[in-house]
Symmetry: C2
């Protein structure tokens, strides 16, 4: 019998308790002796919950109980998740989390601490909710020369962009709809500014390269600048706008970014709609493989958490997860090369040609919209500055992929 | 140092040797002491290959060499792959294969023999080529109550259907194009009759249910009956025709089938085009997750084979793969319920209504095309027989999903 403690009885914590109860047959088949939820830590009481007799308010009860094998941290946020994780690992307990923030900030430290204490730290649910992403990367593709990992890592922003694309809605209207449906928080900043996606691409980058890049070093753009006009322009060139997290490795260079990109319609990521997530891994000789599914929600996230639990119960082999070390030294984003869609006012085609050379124009009402040749960020920004100096006003810039 | 022997130096065998050589850095990082290709078994010599000095013609050399840890069987076909696999496992060697035919026919026997001899038998490459499918099912989703596994399991037929759909080509023209491009064999029967897909859905069914269903018990239809007219009709109702392998479990019932289905455009499998494959797993509480990528080819298949090799080198834990037993007793397909698109000539709407009740008509030139209500196979066939008795001629029937 394995005794677990769940930290946080919110959406995900409730989902984990539900799964362990409702799918007891499936879980017992895999987990051999079965699993007992010994404690649930929360500030609140849950008098009407079937789990009410498990609820404790003091983490000390959990960390000091030697019968607890595994702590499931589904509280979210960096603190006290960090302190509880350190205490649990130090006490010789496995820790499983769905908390991308704490993994992106301290994952290297937790993995080292787990190794030192002969226990496991796992975080499949931190990226892509219920989609198996981290496990297949670890188990199935690392013998490849991986050149890129990219993904639609945030369901809220993908829902908003899908609404803007499918129904011609403005960003503001689509955001309001997402909030009304419960897909977006009242304060949607972590989603729409790209913060959530930046944590997830940091975790993916760490698994693939061993380098944990601080999220403040990741060039991050949200979707607040995406306009209805840009959606119209994207349709004219047969592309879709998606917020992507990308980790691109090429020899010594390593670019990590979160930004809206214009995807051609033959890219599998372009077909991912609504609140779904997907992660694509590109490498030699596997080419491109993609993992797709619901990126959030109680059930899917609980599936990933319990999947980690089953794996730990089967084998507490720590060599599964690669060694991860903090890394500040990623490539300067000003050297990142792309072709961009640019919309400006106050410029004439002759000025654009003088700055960018031959461009592809997109018919746009009241704006000069065009696709630049491939060049570095630095070059693009310099040319835009030159056009601004001549009276040009930039309305939008979205990179192609 | 791990010594491996590759059985068969064709496309996949060459791909495996290439990967182990070109990605030596990645492989050594994972495989610790590195991997040595000690033998390559083939009837032919390869004097101009860099691996020519590894080639042997006698399997006895390999099976009797105690230094060989792992045998990679990429010959295809049931015999002598079966005999070589039994001999290698019995001699205490791990076996990895990409050979779906031998897994679908004898996988239960091989897994039991591996268990008995304390070695591993692995076959990730047998389904979906380079796509991680079997590993994520084993490692990540089995704690779910899985109700269905379905997939586009054959790239050749998906390429043909994509060509028919995108360019309005006939089946014959699209098949010829696939043959010219090397996607289809000169004798394309195993692909277009659904045999290849039936082996793969048998393997997926075994992993999810523990039951290895003989392929001759699987209701299998190929794509040879799909006509240009059906593609036109599918467009009119906003659906796409895909050859799916499906394993549906519902309480005590277990349906396993390969057949063309009409997919609604919001199904992720409907977006899978060309030679790509994808497998979707549906369960509670994970909902639906999908694995997508190149379903064949030297590089992707080699990636999956070497992925299995890395996993075995890391941990020879046999409890990873579930126990699989042969099972003849699947549900009678005549009880399978669906709604079907039917195209007939020689019938009038009144007769159709008398047989099927209210149906949805599709405008079709010279034919009576309609969508039936949901009913069992048995009921559908009975009603079609009644219409035939009145002079009706059936042109096509494709189930909806």
């Amino acid at each position: 019998m394995t005794n677990v403690a769940i930290l946080g009885f919110g959406v995900v914590g409730g989902g984990v308790a539900d799964l362990l109860t409702k799918n007891e047959a499936e879980v017992t088949k895999l987990g051999k002796d079965g699993i007992n939820i010994k404690y649930i830590l929360d500030l609140r009481d849950f008098p009407s919950s079937p789990f009410c007799n498990k609820v404790v308010h003091d983490f000390g009860v959990i960390v000091n109980d030697p019968a607890v094998d595994t702590v499931i941290e589904v509280m979210g946020g960096s603190h006290p998740a960090y302190e509880y994780t350190v205490a649990a690992l130090s006490a010789g307990k496995n820790v499983i989390t769905s908390n991308k923030e704490v993994v992106a900030n301290f994952g290297d430290e937790f993995l080292a601490l787990a190794e030192k204490n002969g226990v496991c730290y796992r975080f499949e649910a931190a990226v892509g909710g219920g989609i198996p992403v981290l496990s297949p990367i670890i188990h199935c593709v690392r013998q490849n020369r991986i050149t890129e990992v990219r993904g639609i890592l945030n369901g809220t922003t993908n829902y908003i962009l899908t609404k803007m694309f499918t129904f011609g809605e403005s960003f503001e209207a689509a955001l309001k709809d997402a909030q009304d449906k419960g897909f977006a928080e009242r304060n949607p900043d972590a989603d729409i500014l790209g913060t959530d996606a930046s944590r997830k691409i940091a975790i993916l980058t760490a698994l693939v390269t061993g380098k944990l890049v601080p999220t403040d070093k990741i060039h991050t753009e949200g979707i607040t600048g995406v306009r209805h006009e840009d959606v119209v322009a994207s349709e004219k060139i047969g592309r879709k706008i998606k917020l992507l997290g990308r980790c691109i490795t090429d020899g010594e260079s390593l670019y990590v970014t979160v930004a809206p990109f214009l995807l051609s319609s033959d890219m599998p990521l372009s077909t991912v709609s609504g609140v779904y997530n997907a992660v694509e891994v590109i490498g030699e000789p596997v080419k491109n493989v993609m993992f797709y599914g619901p990126g959030a929600g109680a059930g899917p996230t609980a599936s990933a958490v319990v999947g980690d639990l089953m794996e730990i119960m089967r084998s507490s082999d720590n060599s599964v997860v690669p060694t991860i070390k903090k890394c500040d030294g990623i490539s300067d984003f000003s050297e990142f090369k792309s072709s961009s869609y640019i919309a400006m006012t106050g410029v004439c085609p002759a000025c654009v040609k003088a700055a960018f050379g031959e461009v592809q124009y997109i018919d746009a009402e009241g704006e000069c919209a065009f696709i630049t040749p491939v060049m570095t960020e630095g070059e693009q920004l310099e040319k835009i500055e030159a056009l601004k100096a001549k009276g040009g006003v930039i309305k939008s810039r979205i990179r192609l992929i």
